[in-house]
Amino acid sequence: MTHHDKKGAGRFEPRIVAFFCNWCTYTAADLAGVSRLKYAPNTRVIRVMCSGRVDPQFVLDAFSRGADGVLLGGCHPGDCHYAEGNYKTLRRMRLLERMLKDMGVSDGRFRLEWISGAEGEKVKTVVNDMVAKVRALGPLDLPGKFKDWDSELEGLARSVHASSKEAAHVR
């Protein structure tokens, strides 16, 4: 994915990874398409059968690989195609949200929304709203941060490397 600044002087375009459950939110996004609603092109959708399949590892992985925001869309409480997968999602994500906060990931970068298969319009409003809010927060850019953090290791890596002819194991 091109980075937000590739467009040159343009404004920051956040990258949002969206996990959509097949039966409600993915279908709603299909409906938004069939209805030709227009919304911000910043989401990248990953389809899962149920929002309950979304392992908190996926959310963290998306952030660590460069997502500026993660959106999780499931069926409304009581309407889960799998009876109550979305309640499990809710519990997990409440705890995950707290942990993200403690780790300094701002509110608004992670969002859980209930969007039923009939709510094509809601896909549009939620995506637009989230894009605007994440844009206001600015880039998260964890891959860039990881690189910055590790720059303090460069000096010794070089000098210890130079102290020997044989350095097969040194990173």
Binding site: D55, P56, L60, P77, R91, L95, S106, E152
Partner: protein
Amino acid sequence: MSAKPKVGFYWCASCGGCEEAVVDLAEGVLDVVAAVDIVLWPVAMDFKRSDVEGMADKSMTVCFINGAVRTSEQEEMVRMLRKKAQFVISFGSCANSGGIPGLANQFSKETILKFVYEDCPGVDNSARTRPQTRMKDEGDRSLHLPVFRDMVRSLDQVIDVDYYLPGCPPTPKLIMGGVQALLSGKLPAKGTVLSPDVALCDECPRKDSKPTDLALTEFKRPHLAPIDPEKCILAQGFLCMGPATRSGCEALCVKGNMPCSGCFGPTSKVRDQGAKLVSCLAGSIAAKETPEIDKVLSGIPDPVGSFYRYGLPKSMLKRRIDN
């Protein structure tokens, strides 16, 4: 020179418990000592940096390194040891994943220094003096102190690691197992954690007492409520990391009537132990509505400290991000 394998032990940011663990091999240690030449063990014998510098590359058969990497000195030493050793074994939780020192990744370097040298109750430092990396005394001798890095790293975030011995500290049984594997040359695939790749419940003596549906309505903390010594600790509402923690310790803590706190790290199928704990524990609570859920979860006052107690630097986010 004997043809015995040359072995080194080194420690970085750790409590010394891992060194104790080696001593705890008891009679076993004699067998080891008989079988190998110890060429580096600063905690027990007198070795200087120059001794290491003088070693030929790969002259050491194996080096056991414990502790996380926080300072430039630790970093430099492990980089050198990597060159001198044929095998590097990451020894214990701190080396493997940052361990307790890794929890410092919740704070910036400045926060830590400010607390330690200024704000900590008991510190009397009105001049706000902080250690410098280099200073000269009257005699014009210069003193070097290592650099305190911005964050804590696991060993494998600095150098290439061949095997891991998990635990805080690793148990004598696992250490012996690892040493024997090395001595016998029957080596598993590189990168292997030398402990069973299955979660702790598998070997937990209280496994049978765990009900299938926990439906927890509250989380309790071990110092605030008595723990029934027979029943599954998680089922009693105490945070037990056993389900998401690799086994091999033979449930030492549980046998001591304390919940598992996760020092063995995750199994090989899990990339982020804390995230998995979130997923699994949240599934075990009964509440359905947001306020109820939050109430139950409020029984876990410090999710990061609880779920990443031994592994924050190796988590997907690595450290607190201030964005």
